[in-house]
Subunit: 423 residues, 2 copies
């Protein structure tokens, strides 16, 4: 036995392995790899992955600030204050936005303060306007007590200087960039984007922009793969359409493996081209082929291998099967190699919906059923999209999919299904 | 009464309106507007919105193709075939990939055909290899009947020439671009991206890249808004930090309204700046202010107006409140103005999870509770993120939120909540 699983039975036929097993076989070999890093401005860093822990270089907020419009007071002056027994406090100053207030609040006095104003010396609470009654220009009644710290956000309360703002391996969302901006951080070290090489093969394939020749078919997979890869935050290196001869194809795969973090080829659904794909991976050395064929519909003939440390995927030629295999195998591999190590991304959003017709499934096979989700009488309804798995129009009519696992022989109309949305 | 709702009570105080009412008030005024269009290549068109119906200029597939490796036959020759009573058929040709096969299949004969091969004249079914037994080089036994059309995808079966491939107002996903590629379409008319102007104001605000000055605070909202807007597929025009004087602020808002499809300003949480924001919208003419203040926590002081046909949002100065208002009001407005008219995008993915502590909420107010979703013993658990609503670190610790509606006074630990993920 090699590092790969034996997937041929005694007659030399493919023994298909379950999707989950194929995926874990792949992902287990991708651990502990980290891409190179680069430095980006915040405006460029959305959705990129931090390459190092980021500690706060300063306190946020940088000083005590009011969270309300009101009066900065000594909290002790307000204790016991009620509507009938208010506390009387003199107004001795005004806090202006963006300026450290001069002087100090002393017992029996207060400063007017706007939301966001810096809390003056001597004050440890802000009383909301709503809890005061003006007496005259220089005096207010406070009608409710305010505890020490009321309506104040303390210096460093959001993030204290020196503490961890964001860990390494974290995907930068809008709020994360905001936090970094708040700390005066202008550049961030991130892992560089993965580069994915794509190779199309098959003598019947022509570029989608070329005039149609009888017998040929336009290259769909390169266009969908490019879009799917960019959705995953990786860059695309398109090697175009390569002849399915050993000389051309082996050379293209070798070059793509040398120049990228991952390689996809597609078009190899016919037995001959599939064999060529397997050979192309094997000849680049161990571990070689990890998976040839999974118990999945659509998507059965996927090939997964490792040329050294570079994952190489042979996607089925059928565009729909290729997209399904992308979602189930390529996307998790890109995710795994991207450098993400934190958990914000571990939940795939799903939409519970009611299945609107019976669906059969072969036991022992994972079935991926594309659906059109629609809302009817306030209920989310999932209508399976009918049509051949090779027809790409079935994908454009679907807005999500659900899975029927290997142990099930199908689902009845009315069942609740968990739909993964196609974004 | 003006076009806006009266939101002041008899004492001239803000009467807050519910979130859903505020949103529908805004969206009802945005209908029937369409942005200009531009022409893009498929590689540039991901996530853009089609500006016209797209009809298929050719058939897909362009000819009858096999979906299996096997033998192209006359289906009638296979009728009644079984293991014990096979049909004997002579192999008279080979279909090569990408080439229209010469000659024709006649009764009693077949051609070898690979997956994707063009079905030869005279054949109306493909028999899988698995349902045949070789007799010799020139003859096979067929052991299972194949109906007419078996394992063939017909010319135009995916999309027929002249039929609607994609409607106008459709967001282009990877599969949609694949469909267009399959039809030989290289360019697509899409609505141009919306342009959103952002203005930061407040004398306490400095650019996040500037050295910190005592009393000042760094501009977080411009950085988060930029990222949130780009997530929505729109472009950002950043007008920087504008002084909160009438002269400067009115001029900046007027310019931003003239130059963009939508304008956001932020920083106006203090009463003075809020009034300035309302005046800036009102002076640009009707309809003016639609909403000043909503019954929402956090996010109450949002201002929503229309300067002519341009939505103008006054977002709260607190970064968290600003982000919440972005999600609840700005995002639906961008969506509405983007030109999307089809339903693929109507389902917000949600994740059902178990609430891990009691949460109080004031009746009559929509509460947005940020949570950290974690998986514990296979269960999805939602831990409310504690901390001040003004603290942006609470957003970075959250990976989603749920809502407690106006009729509820809170939820008990153990309740099931529907979490909207923060992507």
């Amino acid at each position: 036995m090699t590092a790969s699983e034996s997937t041929r039975d005694m007659l030399g036929r493919d023994r298909l392995i379950p999707v989950a097993r194929a995926r874990s076989l792949l992902l287990s070999k991708l651990q502990d790899r980290k891409p190179e890093t680069e430095k980006l401005s915040l405006a460029e860093a959305l959705d990129r992955i931090t390459a190092a822990d980021i500690n706060a270089p300063e306190d946020l907020p940088p000083c005590d600030r009011s969270t309300m419009d009101g009066f900065a007071v000594a909290a002790a002056d307000t204790f016991g204050a009620t509507q009938s027994m208010p506390a009387y406090v003199s107004i001795t100053g005004d806090v202006l936005m963006g300026i450290i207030p001069a002087g100090a609040v002393t017992r029996g006095t207060c400063y007017r303060i706007p939301t966001g104003g810096v809390v003056p010396q001597g004050s440890d609470a802000v009383v909301m306007f709503e809890h005061t009654v003006p007496v005259d220009e220089k005096m207010i009644e406070i009608v409710k007590p305010a505890g020490s710290g009321s309506n104040i956000i303390r210096k460093g309360e959001d993030i204290a200087r020196g503490s961890l703002a964001l860990p390494s391996g974290w995907r930068l969302r809008p709020s994360d960039l905001g936090l970094l901006a708040g700390l005066g951080i202008t550049e961030v070290d991130v892992f560089r984007q993965l580069s994915v090489g794509i190779i199309s093969t098959g003598d019947e394939i022509i570029d989608h922009a070329q005039p149609l020749v009888p017998g040929k078919i336009r290259n769909i997979n390169a266009v969908t793969a490019r879009a799917l890869i960019s959705r995953c935050g990786a860059k695309v290196h398109d090697y175009g359409i390569v002849k399915d001869t050993e000389a051309s194809f082996f050379k293209a795969v070798e070059q793509a493996v040398a120049e990228n973090d991952m390689v996809l080829f597609s078009g190899g659904s016919s037995v001959g081209v599939r064999d060529l794909g397997e050979q192309a991976i094997e000849r680049l050395g161990p571990p070689g082929i990890l998976v040839h064929g999974v118990s999945l519909k659509p998507g059965k003939p996927v090939i997964i291998g490792l040329a050294g440390s570079t994952p190489v995927f042979g996607l089925p030629g059928h565009p729909v099967s290729a997209m399904v295999c992308f979602d189930l195998f390529v996307k998790p591999a890109i995710h795994s190699l991207s450098g993400i190590t934190h958990k914000t991304d571990t939940f795939e959003p799903v939409i519970s919906a009611r299945l609107m017709r019976n669906i059969n499934s072969a036991a022992g096979r994972l079935d991926l059923v594309r659906v059109q989700l629609v809302r009817e009488n306030g209920e989310r309804c999932a209508y399976p999209v009918l049509g051949r798995s090779g027809a790409i129009s079935t994908m454009t009519r679907a807005n999500g999919y659900f899975l029927i696992d290997e142990n099930s022989q199908g689902l009845l109309s009315g069942s609740t299904v968990e739909v993964y949305p196609y974004s």
